[in-house]
């Protein structure tokens, strides 16, 4: 450390302008500090996760205990419990719709990528803040406005949106077709439009910051995998969210201005509508052009976070750093050209189906490489099971288990039978829902000390992990069986599908497991909020990690480093290097300071350190406006 500190002191007081005190509003509410914005995203995301989870518990009650007297829910749900004390079927659809929307967009997109891209990109690439703090602030407040509208839609008299989270027209375009397509859906569309604006503002910032504001010496080949993952995620979002925006906009036109983008030859409620020439399938193409990349938008950040945590806690370099980047790049590219595998049985040209099947199954290759690399990173490590590490290992297990069934669903011939059954529900909840959720949890446990300067309680973390991990497998593993038996999703009741074999015992089991899993999240909520105020004080670098954020003060001010930003001389994964004194060498330690552990090609880089140091002045120029 000593060498690094020496180079810094000379420039320690160059950033005086960063230190003026901000008022409460500017510091905590309309903050332009990426760290505060990240925490805003995180806490909003956690609140949404509990709402989204609660909705799923409500419909699990209906599925597990169809005969239950739901009268006791009337204080919460009011008129949505009908006279016979059952959940109203329209409201059931609203529940699954809102659960999906909230979890996919508000928790796993905003809550995950919004939190960690914001928090980690500047700290890990060595920047004082995002490229534009103002746009970053706008990004959060657009998300906030979007959240408020989505939340308000839960209280509309005709109920929130109810056509599934994909809101396919014509159902979603015809308010007369279902209560869930009335005002609640208008709010849904407005909220999503704002959400997309928020994502674009955020994404532009992430990409710009990674490209332009890396500290001296931080070449792309020295970026931590987290930053690579956030970078690819932002690119995916920037290119695909606008397409969803167009889909949403055209749907708004169809609903409000009488256009016929998605409507043709419709006879509803005793009336033939004048619209002809539109295509309902067009919406599905536009939707899934975002919808599929969206899967990777929620998954890639989780994979990036996991890469970092597994390497740190195995005390080993991540295996195949370049292959990891390569496979993420492959996944990013392929993510754009597999969307129609959601549409094999929509009547799309079967030849297109063949093409999309081929492209879809290719994506299994980079995914498999990632899984193998994680496993090899554990091999001959010296593994410390922090809660973050446990959640990361859990993520890899979910990623494998859920990913493998994708090989079946990506096969168009097999998809005929399994499409829209519980097999699909089980598949994507494991690979995308649970895996990404575990990425979020792993990230929170790992970077909590950096965020709040305190530690979360580890033992509670262990209990939280094991209950959640076992619980999630108990929920989603048996769900495959129900899917193989052909049971369609989004069914209010199964007796109409098969009166003699409605899997009622298994559905009870799944519902109980879901309730217990959801309840155990209370441990996390307690641990999180308690530790913010009362947790043990965090040491400078609790996980002995190599990345730059741990060189910043325990409570970083706006600007992150009080003196000069540290330079970077090596990759982030020098763990347990033979010959080294410690089992980690942070990125800001030059090779000239570690002759005992340098590999031959690293010794050759020592002369270049002067060039890196010489960049300090021009780097400081960047921050002088």
């Amino acid at each position: 450390m000593a060498t690094a500190e020496l180079t810094h002191t000379a420039h320690a007081h160059e950033d005086e302008h960063e230190h003026h005190e901000l008022g409460f509003i500017q510091k905590y509410v309309f903050s332009e500090d990426h760290k505060t914005i990240a925490k805003q995203y995180l806490i909003t995301g956690i609140l949404w996760a509990f709402i989204g989870g609660l909705l799923s518990i409500l419909f699990r009650l209906q599925l597990g205990f169809p005969d239950m007297d739901m009268g006791w829910l009337r204080p919460l749900l009011g008129g949505w419990i009908n006279e016979s004390n059952k959940i109203n079927p329209d409201f059931y659809l609203a529940l699954v719709t809102m659960h999906g929307t909230i979890m996919v967009f508000f928790v796993l997109t905003a809550g995950l990528s919004g939190t960690f891209s914001n928090f980690l990109i500047p700290l890990q690439v060595g920047a004082r803040d995002m490229a534009s703090g103002f746009l970053n602030m706008l990004s959060y407040w657009f998300f906030f406005a979007s959240s408020v509208i989505m939340f308000a839609s839960l209280f509309v008299e005709t109920g929130p949106a109810g056509g599934g989270w994909v809101v396919y027209p014509p159902l979603s375009a015809l308010p007369q077709a279902a209560p869930g397509s009335a005002f609640g859906l208008t709010l849904w569309l407005v909220s999503m439009a704002l959400f997309i604006v928020s994502q674009l503002l955020g994404g532009i910032n992430y990409v710009t910051t990674v490209i332009n504001l890396r500290t001296r010496g931080m070449s792309f080949s020295k970026l931590p995998l987290t930053v690579w993952a956030f970078f690819f995620t932002a690119v995916l979002g920037l290119l695909s969210f606008p397409v969803l925006f167009s889909a949403v906009l055209l749907l708004i036109f169809d609903r409000m201005l009488g256009t016929s983008f998605y409507l043709s030859e419709i006879y509803v409620n005793g009336e033939a509508l004048p619209n002809v020439g539109g295509s309902a399938i067009l919406y599905q193409h536009l939707f899934w052009f975002l919808g599929h990349p969206e899967v990777y938008i929620v998954l890639l950040p989780a994979l990036g976070i996991t890469s970092e945590i597994i390497a740190t806690n195995s005390r080993k370099p991540i295996f195949g750093y370049r292959a990891m980047i390569g496979s993420m790049m492959g996944i990013t590219l392929l993510a754009f050209i597999v969307w129609a595998h959601h549409m094999f049985v929509t009547g799309m040209n079967p030849f297109l189906g063949s093409v999309f099947m081929f492209l879809t199954l290719i994506i299994a290759v980079p995914s498999a490489v990632k899984a193998f690399n994680y496993i090899t990173t554990l091999w001959k490590g010296n593994i410390v099971f922090t809660p973050a590490m446990l959640f990361s290992i859990g993520l890899v297990s979910f990623f494998i288990s859920g990913g493998l069934t994708g090989i079946i669903l990506g096969n168009s011939a097999l998809d005929i039978q399994l499409h829209d059954t519980y097999f699909v529900v089980a598949h994507f909840h494991l690979v995308m829902g649970s895996a990404s959720f575990f990425g979020l949890m792993a990230g929170v446990y790992h970077w909590f000390p950096k965020m709040f300067g305190r530690m979360m309680n580890e033992k509670l973390g262990y209990i939280h992990f094991w209950l959640t991990f076992v619980g999630i497998y108990c929920v989603f593993f048996p769900m495959h069986y129900i899917g193989i038996a052909g049971f369609p999703r989004r069914y209010y009741s199964f007796t109409t599908y098969d009166a003699t074999n409605s899997f009622s015992d298994l559905n009870v089991f799944i519902s109980v497991a879901a309730i217990l899993t959801f309840s155990s999240q209370a441990l996390f909520a307690w641990n999180f909020f308690y530790s913010i105020f009362r947790g043990k004080r965090a040491p400078q670098n609790p996980w002995h990690s190599n990345t730059l954020e741990w060189t910043a003060p325990i409570h970083p001010e706006h600007g992150n480093w009080p003196g000069a930003i540290p330079a970077v001389y090596r990759w982030p994964y020098d763990y347990s290097k033979p010959g080294a004194k410690q089992d980690f060498i942070p990125q800001n330690i030059p090779y000239s300071a570690t002759p005992e552990s340098n590999l031959p090609h690293e010794n050759e880089q020592i002369p270049m350190e002067k060039e890196i140091d010489a960049l300090l002045d021009s780097q400081n120029e960047v921050y002088k406006h």
Binding site: V268, Q417, D420, M455
Partner: protein
């Protein structure tokens, strides 16, 4: 059951808070140590039992999990769908179980390695991790293996898909399925010409649920039913459409699924191989009936939007077709929509002598005109 869940939930909550309280008390006693002063960091050098316990659970989980997974699979397997009752269904079922075999193998190998490594390489103060950042040979091997397996799966899957989605044979029986909130109609081409007549969504009314256009000669013998009859052993082509919102035709036992889209007719053809009777014998369930379910969310009644279905021998099917009166016969007032040059042929389907009073000429021409406009605008 409800009470049981309630009790378990309450118990769980109480336990939670007991544990919380205990842990908080214990935690207070532990002094956080900074590690900048050279003392060992407690987080990366765990000394207590926790790390060992977590490592043990990493091993216990896959063992218990494997037993639970195997047991539950065996328990559930007798309730999986009965054997496929269509020609292509047998192919896709075989491919499904072969693919399942491959992924189950991969599932166990990779998960086992993950958990066993986690347990085996748990932290020990006297050990150092191996610095092993890359091995290109290994990476190439495990890129190529999944790529080859995928290639084989894609190729076999594509061949089956190509055959399933190929053009229906010329001799296929055509049946039209029309979905609406929240039931299905099947329109059969009738016993005489075997062809479905035109339709137009603007002609839909309570007596003409599928919007049959009676100005088309082929529609005279068409009839609409609320039960789906399918002949066994011959190709059947389903022509599928929807009136209002998306629906999806799902014949679980025949392994058939295709969306019904307003404004965009879709199709699916197949050969059924087992009659309802044969299925009853095979499943040992005298109550067995085939059915059609909706699998695209369509509103409140989505979950109960189904249609009874019968698979029968070809002769029985023909006899059933013949036993149904055409929609024109049931609704003779539509004779007024038939153009003058086809009236004579249409009269064949009008029962009992008093051929309904020919409608006033004015009304007749309006109806035809509006249909013409509608068809024109469709094009």
């Amino acid at each position: 059951m409800v009470y049981l869940v309630g009790i378990v939930a309450v118990l769980f909550l109480v336990l939670t808070f007991v544990v919380l309280a205990r842990i908080m008390r214990l935690a207070k006693g532990i002094n956080p140590t900074g590690d900048n002063d050279g003392t060992q960091n407690p987080y990366m050098h765990p000394t207590g039992m926790s790390n060992k316990l977590n490592a043990f659970l990493m091993l216990a989980f896959p063992i218990v999990g494997t037993i639970a997974a195997t047991w539950s699979f065996v328990q559930a397997s007798n309730r999986f769908l009965p054997e496929a009752a269509s020609e292509h269904g047998v192919l896709t079922d075989n491919m499904f179980w072969i693919s399942m075999g491959i992924i189950t193998l991969a599932f166990f190998i990779t998960n086992m390695l993950l958990f066993v490594f986690a347990w085996r390489y748990q932290y020990r103060a006297d050990r150092k991790a191996v610095f092993y950042p890359v091995n290109h040979k290994l990476e190439i091997i495990w890129t190529v293996i999944p790529a080859v397996v995928m290639a084989v799966l894609v190729f076999t899957g594509w061949r089956v898909w190509r055959d399933i989605t190929a053009q229906a044979p010329e001799n296929a029986y055509v049946i039209e399925l029309v979905g609406k909130q929240f039931n299905w109609y099947a329109r059969y081409p009738g016993k005489d010409d075997g062809k479905l007549g035109n339709y137009n969504y603007r002609l839909i009314e309570p007596t003409n649920e599928t919007g049959i256009d009676f100005s088309d000669e082929a529609s005279f013998d068409d009839f609409t039913a609320t039960q789906l009859h399918i002949p066994k052993g011959v190709p059947v082509l389903l022509k599928i459409r929807a009136r209002d919102v998306l629906h999806s035709v799902f014949l679980p036992h025949l392994r058939v699924k295709m969306d019904a889209v307003p404004g965009m007719p879709t199709k699916f053809w197949f050969v059924a191989t087992k009659t309802t009777e044969e299925m009853r014998n095979e499943t040992g369930n005298p109550e067995f009936n085939y059915q059609l379910n909706c699998t695209e969310v369509c509103g409140q009644g989505h979950f109960s939007m189904r249609m009874a279905m019968v698979v029968e021998e070809e002769e029985e099917y023909k006899a059933w077709l013949a036993s149904n009166k055409s929609d024109l016969t049931n609704n003779p007032q539509y004779l007024s929509r038939v153009p003058a040059n086809l009236k004579a042929r249409a009269m064949k389907y009008i029962e009992a002598a008093p051929a309904a009073e020919p409608a006033p000429a004015a009304a007749d021409s309006t109806a035809t005109a509006s249909v013409a406009t509608a068809s024109a605008s469709l094009k």
